[in-house]
């Protein structure tokens, strides 16, 4: 930090009143502890495990050769090391997979609702702002919200038809995304609109909610169809 900034920052906090400073107090105890430290031992000769002398063990110990992962045979390598800079880059496959234990936490009732054919939103107990996509606390005033049941009919606030998508949803293309507005709610809900193509959708169109019979406990358990 520059001195300029320290000066500008104002007075430093007052020192704690002590009879002796900390360095003086600590030093004798530190010296005592240092004398107790184990002495350095002379290095041992390598014996099998530990430091391995490659010369002795050649041909005896090897990493097992396995068939998984990248199998490369005869990667070209120039005799003249000056040619290495022009070498084309090696590109490998590198798989990555994981499973999370994901909690819906305070939003869990929404997903339980979908599994039971009910659409839930939340309403602020203080200012009554109403969220069609639930929020545990009010974005406007900070108060807690309580659960309310949303109507199963709404209107298309905006929409699109996706002909491409991210990998997980590519196989479902083309599909329609809609933002749905509900009577009595201040915010919207993102969902799918099914049973109609791009030419059959318009802003303001009436839609109704349907639910997957076999819930996957995902936001996609509810979807909309033309009303």
């Amino acid at each position: 930090m520059s001195k300029k900034i320290q000066k500008k920052a104002g007075k430093s906090p007052p020192r704690r009143p002590t009879s002796r400073n900390r360095t003086e107090t600590l030093r004798p105890a530190l010296e005592k502890a240092l004398r107790r430290m184990p002495k350095a031992k002379p290095a041992k000769r390598a014996q099998g495990v530990g430091t391995v002398s490659a010369g002795n063990l050649r041909g005896k110990v090897r990493l097992p050769e396995t068939e998984d992962g990248n199998s490369a045979f005869r990667i070209p390598f120039p005799k003249d090391l000056a040619h290495l800079d022009g070498m084309s880059p090696l590109v490998i496959r590198w798989h990555y997979e994981m499973e999370y234990l994901h909690s819906y936490a305070q939003d869990s009732p929404f997903f339980a609702g979908l599994a039971n054919g009910r659409l839930l939103g939340t309403r602020c107990i203080h200012c009554r702002y109403t969220f069609a996509t639930p929020k545990g606390h009010c974005m406007r005033c900070g108060e807690k919200t309580r659960w309310i049941e949303l109507p199963l009919k709404g209107k298309v606030h905006s929409w699109t038809t996706c002909y491409f998508g991210s990998q997980e949803f590519l196989k479902e293309t083309p599909f329609n995304l809609v933002l749905v507005e509900f009577e009595g709610a201040d915010t919207l809900l993102l969902s799918r609109l099914v049973g109609v193509g791009q030419d059959g959708i318009a802003v303001g169109m009436e839609v109704k909610a349907q639910f997957r019979r076999n819930a996957k406990l995902l936001a996609s358990d509810v979807y909309f169809v033309p009303a």
């Binding site: 969220f131 996509t133 606030h157 905006s158 949803f169 933002l179 996609s220």
Partner: protein, 428 residues
């Protein structure tokens, strides 16, 4: 607060993939270019800010530390800044804070992204994780789909047309023909843009930027350092940042945030921002303009480099930044105002061409969008524009504006969740 200047920058060629270079080497290329431009050495740099978006794309945590050591900057201060698509703009502002606070005399903002380590559709999946993964992603997480819904609402609210979106595509791809750093320059007609494969209605393949790899570096300094190394340092006079709710569904429908030149009566019946406008973009612009003492951006900015990840979002951003009123973005592009004054686009305009060129470089649509580098790329192109050195750095001066005094850069994330706007002006 200390005055802050930008004195140099560097950009690598943006490309689909750079398998022959690691991210550290990409950043080093841009860093060395910037140092070389003003005769600086690594020892003159007090620290850095690393600006990159995705740990998923890189599959490496702490990439910033690896760039720091590769550039020989250890043990000087450094940290990483991340804010989705606005990462670069936020990184630029983080470097500004290092100088404004007096903690550093010269700070390097280091931006990059590597996006080709997975296929395009997996990449789209990674990007969609920047939407609410409980409520948005599982419905069909796809960023183009999100922006398309915003475009449809803009069309509904203001009668904007897809052909007006397409004019932005024509402009930015054409501008990039004179920018050697750009990934996809090209000459297109409105009809060609409209008949390209539909990705999410109304956005076609030519309405959307692509994934990209590359790096960009900006060197920011205090006044003394700036003038001891550079003849034409550019002063950063406004630094604004704004935010909005992650879920588009949560955006309010209230009153417009006005700029000084606007009146409440301009927007008597408009519910704002809804999903047709970016409140974060308006908030960031308003803060930056206030600092830079800009009362009317159309009159007082000579050019803008803005975040055109989609043609529709460029039109929406004209309005957020106050270049025209809300609802006038479509007609604004038809006037010819945001085009370059001398480039021939094969389009007819209703007014004067090139009143306030927007994305003279070609923007994200044509340059590419290596996320963490993008906002810094804008700062570098703005610097060269203000210095009058576009011809030197591009080896082609077609895109050099005549005598620009002041420009703005605008960096935007996740359907408008974070927006960073900075104002740069001639400092000498």
């Amino acid at each position: 607060m200390n005055e802050v200047y930008m004195i140099a920058g560097g950009v690598t060629k943006f490309a689909k993939a750079h398998p022959e270079k690691s991210f550290q080497v990409l950043v080093k290329e841009a860093f060395d270019y910037a140092l070389g431009d003003v005769g600086m050495e690594t020892k003159d740099i007090d620290g850095s800010v690393s600006s990159y978006f995705s740990d998923h794309f890189l599959r490496q945590l702490m990439g910033g530390a690896m760039v720091q050591d590769y550039l020989g900057l250890c043990p000087k201060p450094g940290h990483r800044v991340e804010g989705g698509g606005a990462t670069g703009g936020l990184g630029f502002q983080a470097a500004w804070r290092e100088i404004a606070s007096g903690r550093m005399k010269c700070c390097a903002a280091l931006g990059w992204e590597t996006m080709a380590h997975v296929n395009t559709w997996k990449g789209n999946e990674f990007i969609a994780l920047a939407s609410d993964t409980n409520f948005d992603y599982p419905v069909g997480g796809f960023y183009t789909g999100y922006y398309a819904m915003m475009a449809v609402r803009h069309m509904h609210e203001f009668r904007t047309t897809p052909e007006q979106f397409a004019m932005v595509s024509v402009k930015n791809h054409k501008n990039a023909e004179h920018n050697p750093y750009a990934q996809y320059p090209g000459t297109y007609t409105v009809k060609e843009v409209r008949s390209a494969p539909m990705v999410s209605y109304p956005l076609t393949l030519l309405d959307i930027c692509t994934m990209s790899e590359g790096a960009a570096v900006a060197l920011l300094c205090d006044k003394d350092t700036a003038f001891s190394f550079a003849k034409r340092p550019v002063r950063i006079t406004g630094v604004g940042t704004g935010t909005d709710a992650m879920r588009m569904a949560d955006r309010p429908h209230g009153e417009v945030m006005l700029l000084p030149h606007e009146k409440k009566s301009d927007y008597a019946h408009l519910k704002y921002p809804g999903v047709h406008s970016f409140r974060a973009g308006r908030a960031a612009s308003r803060m930056a303009y206030e600092q830079a003492d800009i009362k009317n951006p159309l009159e007082e900015l000579d050019f803008v480099e803005l975040h055109d990840a989609y043609t529709s979002s460029e039109i929406q951003t004209y309005e957020d930044m106050g270049l025209c009123r809300y609802g006038e973005g479509g007609p604004f592009v038809e006037t010819g105002a945001p085009f370059m004054p001398k480039v021939r686009y094969g389009l007819e305009f209703t007014g004067e061409q090139g009143v306030v060129p927007v994305n003279p470089s070609g923007g994200l649509l044509a340059c590419g969008h290596p996320v963490g580098a993008t906002g810094l790329m804008q700062s570098v192109f703005a610097l060269w524009q203000l210095q009058g050195t576009v011809g030197k750095h591009f080896r082609d001066d077609s895109l050099q504006l005549k005598d620009p005094r002041r420009g703005a850069i605008h960096s935007h994330a996740g359907t408008g969740t974070y927006v960073a706007v900075s104002v740069l002006e001639r400092g000498w």
